[in-house]
């Protein structure tokens, strides 16, 4: 395996035993980027020189005999909705095409403190609205497993970068599945932590009650290392929890003997590709062989989750995106009659089709006369969805399901039909509505395309999920496969 295809924990061992230098690791990743980026198009911007400088600083630390942190010298990519001081942060939107943040997101500062090497900013659906990264205003990212397929979304660039060896780990954000779904499509590990685990300060807001930042990694160990680095209370985000969080490395134990696992029947209903179902059934057998007790359960309000989500998320988005008015940053139309004309024309030209669609939908749902029927109703159903999970967790340690109903689809297949596109998140978005942790791990393949297994836990049970995911991973070899980077580039 090449350097750029190794895991962070393996690289850490090679760095501390002085078998490799951080500069070499960084050069290997940028060499891979040079080789494949014209096919994958995972990045919107790259910071090669800064990355190399940081890597050399890590090498100097090692030379001086200083202890280094687990992510020191590890090349990490960032989704382009995470603010990076002095480095363009566009949210893949024309309206922020030239925005250079004057501060770092808390997670970016935390990674820098760990001496991680930031490689660049990754492509995404505009403002994280989408499930295929096709809604980027700038470029389409291709799935490294088959270049004619989407990488999933909205964090498609981060998932593809990790899969293709263009970064060792990455950060994304997940509002309705935007980490787990692309992780499943690209055959990597992707985790959405419990709401409140990771500070959202400096994450450009989409739907504030649902958004959460989380890691992409090649295996569960790296996922735990990344989560360790980014989690914890932050006074700059009043929704980050003030409690002490565990060291997630302690969860990397190969033992799920006696764990009770629930399989929600609704997640195996119509719409699920039969071949994906078979992969997940095999995964369940593996968990049983490792001593877990797997039983069917029910989440009766599952069929209402999509409707609930597509009222609440656009409602919050329409309010959050009101700030893009051409006054303080970003794009502004040249000529305008007056200030309102400037606002409207700036927004119309600056936002893409899906963003406008959701702003319209959210504005409608919040407008006088419709608020009770749509928004308030959706908030109440959100309570019912939460209660479904609470009831299931009385009996089970965690739940499992496929992450997505199918493997990665082809470009253009769903882009003209918003509802069909929204359905690709049908197994992930209830987790955000309930604020729960969820992780997608590689579970196998259908026709050479990766399938993700989703583990859903109680609030703040990331350690349980990581332990189960680790046990599954150690019993299988799916996470060791690397993508061929072939297929017809459209």
């Amino acid at each position: 395996m090449e350097i750029c295809e190794l895991t962070a924990h393996k690289l850490h061992n090679l760095l501390t035993s002085k078998e490799i230098r951080a500069e070499e690791v960084c050069l290997a990743v940028f060499k891979r980027i040079n080789q494949v980026e014209d096919k994958v198009k995972a990045y919107l911007s790259l910071v090669r020189e800064e990355a190399l400088e940081k890597a050399r600083a890590v090498d100097r630390k090692i030379d001086r005999g200083e202890a280094i942190s687990p992510l020191a010298g590890i090349p990490v990519a960032l989704k382009d909705n995470l603010c990076t001081k002095g480095l363009k942060t566009t949210c893949a939107s024309k309206i922020l095409y030239n925005f250079v943040p004057p501060y770092n997101a808390t997670v970016v500062d935390k990674l820098r403190q760990e001496d991680a090497v930031i490689t660049g900013k990754t492509n995404m659906d505009e403002f994280a609205m989408g499930s295929s990264t096709e809604n980027s205003a700038f470029q389409k990212t291709c799935n490294p497993w088959s270049l004619d397929c989407v990488p999933g979304g909205s964090s498609g660039g981060s998932a593809a970068a990790v899969a293709a060896g263009e970064a060792i780990c990455a950060l994304g954000s997940d509002t309705g599945g935007s980490i787990r779904q692309p992780a499943a499509f690209c055959g990597v590990v992707g985790m959405k932590p419990t709401y409140g685990t990771v500070s959202r300060y400096g994450l450009v807001a989409f739907a504030s009650s649902l958004d959460q930042i989380g890691p992409f990694a090649r295996d569960v160990t790296d996922c735990a290392l990344m989560l360790n680095a980014i989690s914890g209370h932050d006074s700059m985000d009043s929704t980050s929890v003030p409690t002490e969080l565990p060291d997630y490395r302690n969860a990397l134990v190969e033992d799920i003997d006696g764990f009770r696992i629930g399989v929600p029947a609704e997640y195996f209903a119509a719409g699920l590709d039969d071949r994906v179902r078979r992969v997940i059934e095999e995964a369940i057998t593996v968990l049983e062989q490792r001593g877990a007790r797997v039983e069917e359960t029910t989440l009766p309000h599952t069929e209402y989750a999509l409707s609930t989500y597509y009222i609440i998320a656009p409602a919050e988005a329409s309010s959050n995106l009101a700030r893009y008015d051409g006054v303080r940053y970003g794009y502004r139309v040249e000529e305008a009659e007056d200030v309102v004309d400037m606002f409207s024309r700036t927004r119309s030209r600056g936002f893409g089709a899906e963003v406008k669609r959701r702003v319209m939908l959210g504005t409608y749902a919040l407008s006088a006369g419709y608020y009770d029927a749509y928004y308030l109703k959706a908030l109440k159903v959100r309570t019912l969805i939460r209660r479904d999970f609470e009831r299931a967790f009385e009996k089970f340690d965690f739940l499992i399901s496929p992450t997505t109903p199918s493997t990665a689809f082809r470009f253009g297949e769903k882009v003209d039909d918003p509802l069909t596109m929204y359905l690709s998140d049908v197994f992930t978005l209830a987790v955000n509505l309930a604020g729960l942790p969820g992780v997608s791990i590689p579970a196998g393949f259908v026709d050479g395309m990766p399938v993700g297994l989703q583990l859903i836990g109680k609030p703040f049970s990331e350690s349980t999920l990581l332990r189960a995911a680790y046990t599954f991973e150690q019993s299988t070899a799916h996470h060791l496969k690397r993508p061929p980077l072939t297929g017809e580039v459209k």
């Binding site: 030239n98 309000h301 209402y304 970003g330 606002f343 406008k356 939908l361 309570t383 019912l384």
Partner: protein, 93 residues
Amino acid sequence: MLSREVVDHVALLARLELSEEEKERYASQLADILEYAERLQELDTEDVIPTAHVLPLQNVFRHDTVGQHLPSEETLANAPDREDNCFKVPRII
């Protein structure tokens, strides 16, 4: 289909200037999504408390101490237009 008046009204509230083609497209697509969302009405939610937020956090206070703020130059660095230490916009009235 949503009526033309509703689409115009919502676009005005959202400060979006939509083309004729966009208005037609959104009128039909939003109607489809809203029709799908209609299924929420099947549920009896009479006594259900709405969940606006999943965490039990309330009134998170901080100490009222003087901290650092962004310097004006950094704050204004991204401004499409400025005059002195102010953001400049087209005429308002």
